[in-house]
């Protein structure tokens, strides 16, 4: 028995992808395969009929919705605060690095000038 063929026919049946009985479109199935398919379609149809959607209580849906919107507000506010803190921290760090590099540059320059002056004085003496 070709299980793939039967699985395909079941898919066609359950997804209502075609018009007319599945058996007609599966003309190349053997009699045994037709019987097997019909039996499985019977199970699928009973499942379809009996397994009906259930509904959550409207009060639950409403209250959870309100809680979630409130929680989402807090999440977004927290994220924005974190983002703001990160931006300010980066700006402060950048400023510190800039000031440090300027101060460092001045120190190096002073040292270099002092060394040069000392060298000149030594050479004239």
């Amino acid at each position: 028995m070709r299980e793939e063929k039967i699985a395909e026919a079941l898919a066609i049946h359950t997804e209502r992808r075609s018009v007319g009985p599945v058996a007609e479109q599966m003309a190349d199935l053997t009699e045994e395969e037709h019987d097997e398919l019909a039996s499985l379609i019977g199970v699928a149809d009973r499942l379809e009929m009996r397994m009906q959607p259930v509904q959550a209580s409207p009060a639950f849906v409403r209250s959870l919705g309100q809680e979630l919107v409130g929680a989402a507000e807090q999440h977004i506010a927290k994220r924005r605060r974190r983002h703001r803190i990160a931006v300010i921290s980066a700006a402060v760090a950048g400023a510190v690095v800039s000031i440090a590099s300027v101060v460092g540059g001045i120190v190096v320059l002073i040292k270099w000038l002092r060394t040069r002056t000392e060298a000149r004085q030594a050479s004239t003496a």
Binding site: E3, E4, I6, A7, E8, L10, A11, T14, E15, S39, L40, V43, A44, R46, L47, E48, M49, R50, M51, Q52, P53, V54, Q55, A56, S57, F60, V61, L64, G65, E67, L68, V69, G70, A71, A72, E73, H75, I76, R79
Partner: protein, 185 residues
């Protein structure tokens, strides 16, 4: 009015809590439905539905819309929570038939519901006796009405693999249910 697409809502929801609320409203019934059939108790289904959406909210900033349905992501979160729930609960409460009938969609008369009850009970018991992936498949297909391709996206399998799994699942169910259906009819 044209309904906003998931992608648009997802993009807006990153900065707007109301948009996340709209996504919630769009999918809460489906997720609740799925969980309810998997755990069989409305209190647990409510608890797990809430946890699913809270977890989605927590991980939402890192969610990337790569074209797969948003619902597939939610179903995967729900599936993981249900799996943990089953692991943590050695004693599983089965949903009572009355509960299922009370929550059934409107428009079905009480007489029809009563007729169905025995068969529904037998069927739900048989479905809950299946392996978790097969239960998931049956619920997604018959309760949620998803196609094999959509189920494949949720379960991380190919459409062909889903077709084949569905076939094997129906064969198993037919064997499990054969005697009981004969008794009922």
């Amino acid at each position: 009015m044209c309904e906003e697409s998931d992608s648009t809502l997802i993009a807006r929801a990153k900065e707007n809590p109301e948009a996340f609320g709209a996504l919630y409203e769009r999918y809460v019934d489906k997720i609740y439905n799925y969980i309810c059939y998997r755990v069989g108790s409305d209190q647990d289904a409510e608890d797990l539905t809430a946890r699913t959406f809270y977890r989605a909210l927590e991980h939402f900033p890192s969610y990337e819309d790569r074209g797969a349905p948003f619902s597939a992501w939610l179903y995967r979160i729900a599936h993981n929570l249900v799996a943990n729930w089953h692991r943590d609960n050695s004693r599983r409460k089965m949903i009572t038939l009355d509960d299922m009938i009370l929550r059934a969609p409107k428009g079905k008369g009480p007489a029809i519901r009563a007729e169905k009850s025995d068969e529904e009970d037998v069927m739900l018991t048989a479905v809950r006796g299946l392996a978790p992936d097969r239960q998931q498949l049956i619920v997604l297909k018959h309760v949620e009405g998803m196609t094999n391709a959509e189920i494949g996206e949720v379960m991380g399998r190919t459409e062909g693999a889903i077709k084949s799994l569905y076939h094997r699942t129906l064969v198993t169910l037919r064997e499990d249910l054969a005697d009981q259906w004969e008794r009922l009819t």
